[in-house]
């Protein structure tokens, strides 16, 4: 079968089984858009800004485990993608980005809408390609999908000059079933000797702790993690990215750890003697001051990316491999060992943990006449039965979701953890909703973040993505304000906006339903009303307490156990 370059692109996407492509047309991709015209196999979602396309593809990928696909033109089309590509890169999300480029003969001549896309994106992609020969186009696209979705996943960009997609030049088309690269052989199974050593260390632990991360979600290993944790009766905490891999309401789950982690999770980390890190990368928001991180612990670290191991924290037993097969091997070795961790040690360890837990570090003022943001999230959790797909933007609201929405299943919690991209939440929610049209999909956001990609409200209408937007409107960039309160003597430098739009009318202008909620007693009825409107996007603008802070907090430069608790909670009681 002979096809033009443009037809090859579309046929390759079909052969790859791509369902959605998020894109925006322009000069350098016009041939590709012409090939997309009139076919229904690959559904094109027209965004309003290329950044929105990357976040939609990203949300789609996080919610499904499939690779998200983006299409944009050269120059500004490509540069507008960079934030979204970097977001996906930091959180290891599989994504394939196709960009148009100026025709090969004028590359390097500062042609109209030319930029060095491969150069600009190089530091924030897993890999990228510039296609110079249309005969290699199909195989390059296959390689892109293969690299993006295997090993530690990530975004891969394919830059395609316009002449390569010329409709008048046809070449034989063949889309390979698989590709193999001599320079890229991701590890799957863990080294059996290392796993054996790990079981010995686990069985000898007196104060063990499981620290699980986003790699468990990406590696589809939630059920193995749950089985392991329950069999061992060990306490478990999770990073922001790993929430949902272990059921959030389970007794053994201590909540999230790190800068805004729970008291019990951070104290247990600090005091543990064996730390089992699974698909987590010891990010600075987790460790706090590195010198004092887990001072008594021997560390076992399971990760598919060897570069994540011993990057920030020394590791005693590294295990390189995909989380799922490694945990499977670990579980079977533990079960066949004939041993169990010492129950008396575990009992006294759990007794200490229950003491830490008893301070109830997430308590907040439930009698306030103002809407407390935590209350909104708790109500959201109840109304959705803890089963919604929740996306967020970045800041206080993101932390409150992580703390108060107890995710029971993996892939339900979708947020920009690594890069911390404001503007991510709403387009990501659109991508999730397209993937799961029958599920409840909520974007929790703030009045600052939501304005960064607000234009995608229009895309949501066009493609019938009736998400719910929970806007925690405190008239401040809340997290910036909180840091300014704590460390800059409440000098609120440029952290509020005097001209916030009327979100109800804004939502209506985009063809959606807007609601403004100002009293605590209106919160639950408003949420119920919004979720009853199955076919409509509802923008719920909650006017919340302006000065609420996120607690606990490990402030910059502090060690993990040195948390700032809310002023209404005291640790004076003997907790050691």
């Amino acid at each position: 079968m002979d096809l033009s370059g443009a037809e090859i692109v579309v046929q390759a996407l079909k052969d790859e089984g791509v369902e959605f492509i998020f894109g925006y047309p322009g000069g350098a991709v016009l041939h590709i858009y012409d090939a997309l015209f009139g076919q229904e196999d690959v559904k094109h979602v027209l965004v309003r800004h290329e950044q929105g396309a990357t976040h939609m593809a990203d949300g789609y990928a996080r919610a499904t485990g499939k690779t998200g696909v983006v299409l944009a033109t050269s120059g500004p089309g490509a540069t507008n993608l960079v934030t979204g590509i970097a977001t996906a890169y930091m959180d290891s999300i599989p994504m394939v980005i196709l960009t148009g480029q100026v025709p090969t003969p004028v590359i390097g001549s500062d042609a109209f809408q030319e930029c060095d896309t491969v150069g600009i994106t190089r530091p924030c992609v897993k890999h990228n390609f510039l296609v110079k020969d249309r005969g290699e186009l199909a195989e390059t696209i296959k390689k892109a999908f293969y690299i993006a979705s295997t090993g530690r996943p990530g975004p891969v960009l394919v830059d395609i000059p316009k002449d390569i997609t010329d409709p008048n030049v046809k070449v034989p088309y063949h889309y390979p079933d698989s590709v193999s690269l001599r320079s890229y052989k991701p590890k799957v199974k863990g080294n059996p000797r290392q796993i054996k050593k790990a079981t010995e260390m686990i069985l000898s632990a007196r104060r063990p702790m499981i620290y699980s991360g986003g790699g468990v979600v990406l590696g589809e290993a939630a059920s193995e993690l749950t089985e392991l944790t329950r069999w061992l009766n060990f306490p478990i905490t999770s990073t922001l990215m790993g929430l949902g891999a272990y059921p959030g309401s389970d007794r053994q789950f201590l909540g999230m750890l790190g800068m805004h982690g729970t008291y019990e999770a951070n104290m247990a980390m600090h005091e543990c003697d064996v730390l089992i890190a699974i698909g987590a990368r010891f990010d600075d928001r987790v460790t706090g001051k590195l010198d004092e991180f887990c001072p008594y612990a021997k560390v076992i670290h399971i990760d598919v990316d060897p570069a994540s191991i011993a990057k920030n924290v020394p590791v005693d037993i590294p295990i390189v491999g995909q989380v799922k097969p490694v945990l499977t091997d670990l579980i079977s070795l533990l079960k066949s060992s004939g041993h169990q961790p010492n129950p008396e040690d575990l009992e006294s360890w759990w007794a200490r943990i229950e003491q830490w837990r008893s301070i109830e570090c997430l308590r907040y003022d439930r009698k306030s006449t103002l809407i407390k943001p935590q209350y909104v999230i708790e109500q959201l959790w109840e109304i959705t039965g803890g089963d919604a797909y929740v996306t967020s933007d970045v800041g206080q609201h993101q932390m409150w979701v992580a703390q108060y929405y107890h995710f029971e299943k993996p892939r339900r919690w979708i947020n920009s953890g690594g890069l911390g991209t404001m503007g991510f939440g709403m387009p990501a929610a659109v991508g999730v909703k397209l993937a799961h049209p029958d599920a409840d999909v909520v974007c929790v956001t703030g009045e600052a973040s939501i304005q960064m990609c607000i234009q995608e409200l229009s895309t949501a209408l066009q493609y019938k993505a009736p998400i719910k937007i929970v806007n925690l409107n405190n008239r401040y960039m809340g997290m910036v304000r909180q840091w300014q309160e704590f460390t800059y003597e409440s000098r609120y430098s440029h952290s509020y906006m005097d001209t916030i739009p009327d979100f109800v009318r804004l939502a209506e202008a985009y063809g959606h339903v807007g609601m403004r909620i100002e009293k605590p007693e209106e919160v639950r009825p408003a949420l119920e009303e919004a979720f009853a409107l199955k076919d409509r996007l509802v923008f719920l603008d909650f006017i919340t307490d302006r000065t609420e802070n996120v607690y606990p907090m490990v402030e910059a430069g502090k060690a993990q156990h040195q948390m700032r608790l809310p002023p209404w909670i005291s640790t004076d009681r003997e907790l050691a």
């Binding site: 491969v118 150069g119 190089r122 530091p123 897993k126 890999h127 990228n128 510039l130 690299i147 690269l181 001599r182 320079s183 890229y184 990316d305 060897p306 570069a307 011993a310 990057k311």
Partner: protein
């Protein structure tokens, strides 16, 4: 600590840029870098001289290995190895200075490969320390131009870095 990392990488456009931008982005040092195709022209061999403590060198090798274009790599300074660098040196050589320059070049097993009435071009290979030592014997005012290739290296014995 100084380390010499040898890499085999795909001879693709942008492969060098990927390596260089990795070092820049993560704040690692490059003291020297050489690269050229091997006997198989789809593969380039690169030699990077870098420095850092054990933890940094471990990260450098892991991050390099993560690059899709990198096929194999080896820190050759961890084993017995031979290191060579080429230097071309243009020096002022007036009649009164010629004998001494010739003698010095011979002692260091260099060769004079171009001569004018006022200058010599000297060719010399060796490890970097030897080239440094030679330069230290010249007065700065004698030197017109120094060109150094940066070190390349190979393991001693039968073991090698190949596909």
């Amino acid at each position: 600590m100084r380390h010499i990392i040898s890499l085999l990488l795909e001879n693709e456009a942008g492969a060098l840029a990927r390596v260089a931008s990795l070092f820049a982005a993560r704040g690692y040092n490059i003291e020297a870098l050489t690269v050229a195709p091997t006997e198989d022209d789809s593969v380039s061999r690169m030699t990077i001289v870098t420095c850092g403590d054990e933890r940094i060198i471990e990260q450098i090798t892991k991050q390099l290995n993560k690059l899709i274009d990198v096929i194999r790599l080896l820190d050759i300074s961890e084993s017995g190895h031979i290191e060579r660098e080429l230097m071309l040196l243009k020096v002022r050589a007036k009649a009164s200075e010629r004998d001494e320059l010739k003698r010095l070049t011979d002692i260091f097993r260099g060769r004079i490969i171009d001569v004018t009435s006022q200058s010599y071009v000297i060719e010399m290979t060796g490890d970097s320390a030897k080239l440094d030592a030679f330069l230290a014997n010249l007065a700065p005012s004698q030197i017109i131009e120094v060109v150094r290739s940066g070190p390349t290296g190979i393991l001693r014995g039968e073991r090698g870095l190949h596909l």
